[in-house]
Amino acid sequence: MTLTDRTFDPGAPAVRDDPEETRRLEETWRSPSGPVGWFMPVNQRIIGRRFIVTAFVFFLLAGALGLLIRLQLAVPENSLLGPELYNQIVTTHGTTMMFLFAIPVVEGFAIFMAPMMIGSRDMAFPRLNAFGYYVYLIGGVAFFGSLFVGLAPAAGWFNYVPLANKEFSPGLGVGIWTTMITFIEVSALTAAVELIVTILKLRAPGMSLNRMPLFVWSVLVMAFMILFAMPTIIVASLLLILDRLVDTKFFIVEAGGEPLLWQHLFWFFGHPEVYIILVPALGVISSVITTFTGRPIFGYTALVVSLVATGFISFGLWVHHMFATGLPQLGLSFFMAASAMIAIPNGVQVFCWLASLWGAKIRLATPMLWVLGFFVIFVIGGLTGVMVASIPFDLQVHGTFFLVAHFHYVLIGGAVFPLIGGLYYWYPKMTGRLMSERLGKWSFWLAFLGFNLTFFPMHQLGMEGMPRRIYTYIDGLGWEGMNLLATAGSVVLALGFLLTAFNFWVSMRRGRPAGDDPWGAPTLEWRTSSPPAPYNHRHVAVVHGRYPLWQEREAGRREVVIGLRSDRREMVVTSILDAEPQSVQVLPGPTIWPFVSAVAASTGFIGILVSPIFFVIGFFLAFFSFVGWLWPRRPWRED
């Protein structure tokens, strides 16, 4: 069926694409190539793809560390890894998974997909976007690299003081953790600001808030959560940097400092963090279910309200990480109730999806398979999550392998499985090709089986008294069988994930060409070509409902915005609620400045580990780079 492009006015004539204009548009939005050019693009799809690929590289690296952990624990009194190295590996595994994989990968998906889904050509602040990526890349490489030179932190991913104080962790390790995490969170904040403004102001005309795809809603909720959660971890790690660097004594007990202050600050960030990772994955599930059932999702409003409620509630339950610290019972009881309450919005979402799936004609393609796997694993993780909300029960399982099992069920089942589903689903928009279905299914079943073999026995290990983060355990406590089983499972799990990585790589060249809309999906990103042209949408769409592509197919025509110039990067700015066109924004083109700024800032952040003077050097370098960045664009170049 051919569709005719039309303008706002139904009576207006069909729009004809002038090839000359298309060429000029392409020229305007194109990113430079070459070795220097690699550091210059600002287009959202390029930045987003880099985020995703870099994050998955860190996922594989941290996953390899996870395998080492499992190998060490396979048998009692094993001497594969010494205690110091083991603690470094555990800390790096956790930190990398949380800060270098989970957050960046959801940001990557958000940056890559959300603008296309709302019919935009780019994001609101493209250079900030690029800056965020380089910050993440430099910070991530510096952090992970510390493991290879034996300088990695060993105080656990939540770095409890006093263990993380200079007295008990004298090396560079915790310093690297605090500075690099602060640095990387700057990148999360830039992405959050960027996503919020883009989603609220750059939606295609007609895409009012209640027509926004659920994935975009989840990204919006995530971005707001980042905005409120990340400053806390930045403040906390800054205080710790100051304690370690200039002896400020925020956390030194003998000087009136307070170890619990760190825990409050850390978990005020740390708990929302889990939902920051989970929420976008829930958005992916809604997208995949809609497409593969081929009909509107059930309970759109309920799903949106649940996402928003999850965001709010997640800020009210950080103390459930601190039930064993001796806080008064009354205060703890509040957090027990709040923690259990999160079951309601999540329950509503799960059952909305179940209602959508009931009786639907489902295509069991690979993305759908990963989503179905999510249901089993996430429900188990959710159930144990509700259990640990109970204070007396938590006091038994807190700090044990039961917890390790719980949060891997939530994070791998709840976030990684749907995200891999999303990777299979949106791969055509990254490469123009489809990933192999056969490899995808093998990968899924291996990962599903391996995951449960690895983590299910850990519930029992925790109940039987095995604390987490121990580099070994003595023989005869009855933990041998379960640990061996878990280690065997982890090898299967690793194979499953590696198969997807292989599939990703091989399909770039050999995959079946996808065409624009291989899955028959309803949302705007499938209106672009595969892979999309640099400008994403040849014409900015006008939207009349939640499922624009299905509606257009039914109507046999589509409406578009005309009048945007093709000789500079222009986008339509619309109103927040109803997406009524308001003005046109002109975006900057490729530039090296964000990269220069990121390098300047990292000079300060990394140098501070060596000497405080680098703070001053970094400050001035960054200042000059920002001057270059903000240098006024010459008006005569514009017109």
Partner: protein, 348 residues
């Protein structure tokens, strides 16, 4: 009633009074490994731990049902669409019924159950009838446990390490301290864990319900040797406990025999800077009090059994047993080591 001689051997007395314990054992057997059960929340040996274990079996049962229902709804829903007649969605009202019952009502009931049970069990396990029968101060060290028995006025009765004797059926108050990093005190068979945080004193109250030897372990990452920071709780009948405590309060006995006396000299030279043996000039405070070392079941914080061979190995090369721990190795001449061991073995 006596405790099992070795904490690492099979417990041998798996009482089946508790249905929970029976299920636990069955679960462990099903999984193909016979759990020793001396460090397990599934083998409760106090009223507090028994309540929590019961809560767990309830949680497990309800969760299994919930999971089964979700998977069943998913499976049936998927199968209904597989037929030739195409999609057969639920009518709108049925869908809402599903979402409201499964997503709101069921979780709300579960939350109510969790909060009420949590508050009730929290109140039971947190009960603090004054005054306690026994007060013990436990301080988390790097990486061992100092244990100090206090009388009702707070006076010190005896100091020991890594082995806490308690009377069965009596209310025990533990004062949990740390002067270094955060540790967490946990004996799964007896109660949930409580952190030991520098600058504050946390309390843990419970009454051991049955004589036996239970193993505990630090449950908060506390540095290099977090993994091997264990201890034993030995619950005995009150009379036996009183006798034990009275003995612990006494200073060390005079060594008998020339070899042991020679050993005391070696101890004064090599060990006294860090270790105390009450009644001698050894007053070091860095390491565990060794006044009654020979009476303890384990060495190196419940890591190795307290036998002559292990003791000798530990003194000569503690770093190979617990890498990174704070005790340096002592390359003593064989006769000196021999004498030292003879002396230590007399510290009953």
């Amino acid at each position: 009633m006596t405790a099992t001689p070795s904490p690492f051997g099979p417990s041998g007395r798996r009482r089946t009074a508790q249905a929970a314990a029976r299920l636990a054992a069955a679960g462990a057997l099903l999984a193909g490994c016979a759990s020793d059960g001396s460090q397990s929340a599934l083998n409760p040996k106090s009223p507090d731990a028994a309540l929590i274990a019961q809560l767990w079996w309830w949680f497990l049962g309800v969760s299994a049902v919930v999971l089964a229902v979700v998977v069943l709804v998913l499976a049936v829903g998927l199968l209904r669409g597989r037929g030739a007649q195409g999609a057969r969605p639920l009518p709108e009202s049925r869908r809402w019924a599903l979402v409201v019952s499964g997503g709101i009502v069921a979780p709300a009931v579960a939350i109510l159950g969790i909060v009420v049970s949590g508050l009730w069990i929290g109140r039971e396990t947190g009960a603090r009838p004054t005054p306690p029968d026994v007060t013990v101060e436990v301080a988390g060290k790097l990486w061992w446990w100092e244990v100090r028995y206090r009388d009702a006025q707070g006076g010190l009765i005896a100091t020991t390490a890594n082995e806490i004797h308690l009377p069965v059926g009596r209310m025990v108050r533990l004062l949990l301290l740390s002067d270094n990093v955060i540790h967490s005190f946990w004996v799964p068979n007896l109660d949930g864990k409580t952190d030991m945080i520098p600058g504050q004193v946390n309390e843990l109250w419970f009454a051991p319900g049955e004589a036996g030897t239970y193993r505990g372990q630090c449950a908060e990452l506390c540095g290099v040797q977090h993994a091997l920071m264990g201890f034993l709780v030995v619950a005995t009948e009150p009379a036996e406990f009183e006798a034990w405590l009275a003995h612990q309060a006494r200073p060390a006995a005079e060594p008998e025999g020339a070899l042991a006396r020679r050993g005391r000299e070696v101890f004064q030279q090599s060990c006294a800077r860090c270790h105390t043996v009450r009644g001698t000039a050894a007053r070091g405070g860095q390491g565990p009090d060794l006044t009654h070392l020979a009476g303890r079941r384990t060495l190196a914080a419940a890591t190795i059994p307290n036998t002559r061979g292990h003791l000798g190995g530990w003194i000569a090369d503690p770093q190979s047993i617990k890498p990174g721990n704070l005790m340096p190795g002592f390359a003593l001449d064989p006769p000196d080591l021999h004498a030292l061991l003879a002396y230590l073995e007399q510290l009953e």
